[in-house]
């Protein structure tokens, strides 16, 4: 299975990655390589094997429902590009 340049463009757009035409071609080749690998893996017979969602065969440990965090807004906002009146400021996003 190979990927068209258009599809590469769409994937890049979804991931908010800017690609030059040259980048796109190089990416197309790399992604197609990955798809080739997947195709190879899909040839393996997995009948009767339950799919895993995680490489480790363990289950999630849970935390007790209690508040353990304190307010560290000042420290976080000191390293934020811009903050005012307690809010993080970003370029206007409304359409």
């Amino acid at each position: 299975m190979s990927l068209s340049l258009e599809e590469v463009g769409r994937i890049a757009r979804l991931a908010r990655i800017e690609l030059t035409p040259q980048d796109a071609e190089a990416t197309q080749a790399k992604l197609s390589g990955i798809f080739g690998l997947i195709e190879q893996m899909q040839a393996v017979d997995t009948t009767g094997i339950a799919p895993m969602s995680h490489p480790q065969d363990l289950v999630q440990r849970l935390r007790t429902d209690e508040v353990t965090e304190t307010n560290q807004r000042e420290a976080f906002q000191a390293v934020a590009p811009e903050a005012e009146r307690g809010l993080y400021l970003v370029p206007k996003v409304i359409e």
Partner: protein
């Protein structure tokens, strides 16, 4: 609406779970904090932080699953839903996709009122755990948006139905039943103003008898039942008009504008629906053991449907009354507490058979007719009732033992409601409402009334029952409501027929 069209509605509801901390971090979920004071490193997505799942959120999902008779998945998986928006700093929302925690289940709803009322069972598809996003504030800053991440990471249970509802009335009835249930089992505070319970409605129409579903449009963020009704009605009308004019419906996400009463399409973001879900490598699968489910089950309150069934069989209640008394957990508790308090009061005549049925009948009538309507008038919740269940029991005890007439009881109730006394007995005492049962005290009043109302007396003797009632009324009035109507009836009849 033209009758050859059928409306098809499915609902997705986000119920905010009432944990004290967030779903993947130890930050507080309390409402109303100053911006970003409850947003910790995990919530603002600092590099290197890792999510740790909150047991309380999972327990609430289990509670919900049990309440709707669903399957609780022994193993479920968290997935990343990828999209870019500044109030989602990770660039993905942690949600569940292929393997949700709750699968299936049903909710039975009552639609309509009176003769037209019917019940219907809505199938649920699933319910899954996920985190909420933050809030963007667009107004206050020139060319910039302000981001408050306090809400980011708040646990949500997204509850999805099958496309089972066939009118806005059914959709609203389902939303109300669900709203009541999540509060009943204490997993969500149900506060719609604060956004703790919000619904999206998927609406489509098709020709009656058609099997294929029409193209749907999704109305987002309905945060009141009234808006839900208006938005769906408008949307249905709009879709039918489009189709009848020969246009096709495009799948879209729309918003309801309460000011105009219209729905309008949001400008679709490019590829907005391609969320590229994949299992979150930061979170291992969630395992829920049968023992955990049993433990949660043992802590569950009696559910509304079970309670209604019990009320109907134990107290011979009609469906409508059972429904009214189970409109909320608080309401049913109030009813049960009043009944229990009444049993504790010594010397109450219970009647000869099935004493609790008779008592329950009185309590039920008072709770529905007096308490509920007084609460309604002042827009109060049952928890804020100005007459406690103990006070109501004390009042009913005095009706049962004939200390006061039912007329006087209403006065005592009003006095209790208005805080004019702490209990029925003291109000009866200070306002002199004790029923007079001594015949020698009532007979002179009856004589006076007979003498002053010769016309009514004549009419009664001519066979007019109404005239008799008028005379009883006069006696009651002259006794300032202290006489017992039954006794007045008896004495008056005796005198007139003599």
């Amino acid at each position: 609406m033209r009758s050859d069209w059928e409306v098809v509605i499915g609902l997705e509801t986000h119920a905010q779970l009432n944990t004290v901390s967030k779903i993947f971090s130890g930050a507080s979920t309390a409402f109303g904090a100053a911006p970003n004071e409850q947003a910790c490193g995990v919530d603002i997505a600092l590099p290197g932080v890792l999510p740790v799942l909150n047991q309380g959120a999972v327990a609430r999902a289990i509670r919900f699953g049990l309440a709707i008779g669903a399957e609780i998945a022994p193993r479920s998986v968290f997935a990343r839903k990828n999209y870019f928006y500044p109030d989602l700093p990770k660039g993905y929302q942690i949600s569940q996709y292929e393997l949700p925690v709750v699968v299936g289940g049903t909710l039975t709803i009552q639609v309509g009122e009176g003769d037209k009322a019917y019940s219907k069972t809505v199938q649920l598809t699933r319910a899954h755990l996920e985190e909420d996003a933050g809030k963007s504030l667009h107004e206050d800053f020139q060319g910039q948006s302000g981001i408050d991440l306090n809400r980011a990471g708040t646990p949500l249970l997204e509850i999805v139905t099958e496309p089972d509802m066939r009118s806005s009335a059914e959709a609203v009835a389902y939303a109300k039943a669900l709203h009541s249930l999540v509060q009943w089992i204490d997993i969500c505070d149900g506060n719609m103003q604060e956004g703790s319970f919000r619904c999206d409605a998927n609406v489509s129409v098709r020709k009656k008898g058609a099997e294929k579903l029409g193209t749907r449009r999704e109305i987002k963020n309905l945060n009141s039942f009234r808006f839900m009704q208006q938005a769906i009605d408008y949307e249905v009308q709009w879709q039918i008009e489009q189709l009848e004019d020969g246009h096709a419906i495009q799948q879209a996400t729309v918003l309801f504008d309460p000011d105009t009463g219209e729905t309008r399409s949001m400008r679709s973001k490019e590829d907005a629906h391609d969320y590229r879900y994949f299992p979150d490598p930061d979170l291992l699968p969630l395992a829920i053991s049968a023992e955990w489910i049993d433990r949660v089950k043992s802590e569950m309150p009696e559910l509304p449907e079970e309670k209604r069934r019990r009320y109907r069989s134990e107290y011979s209640m009609v469906a409508q009354d059972a429904l009214a008394l189970t409109s909320s957990l608080g309401m049913s508790r109030y009813f049960e507490n009043t009944l229990a308090a009444l049993r504790e009061i010594p010397g109450i005549p219970y009647g000869t058979q099935a004493p609790d049925v008779a008592n329950a009948k009185h309590v039920q009538n008072w709770v529905i007719n007096n308490i509920a309507s007084s609460l309604n008038k002042e827009q109060l919740e049952i928890e804020d009732s100005k007459v406690s269940s103990a006070q109501l029991a004390g009042l009913l005890a005095r009706v049962f033992d004939n200390t006061i007439s039912s007329n006087a009881a209403k006065k005592v109730f009003d006095a209790l409601w208005n805080g004019e006394g702490n209990d029925a007995d003291s109000i009866i005492e200070t306002q002199g409402l004790k029923q007079v049962t001594d015949a020698s005290a009532i007979e002179p009043i009856i004589d006076e009334v007979i003498a002053a109302n010769a016309k009514n007396v004549e009419e009664y003797r001519a066979g007019k029952e109404k005239a008799f009632n008028a005379l009883v009324g006069q006696v009651m009035k002259a006794s300032k409501g202290k006489a017992s109507p039954a006794q007045v009836n008896e004495l008056l009849k005796k005198k007139l027929d003599a």
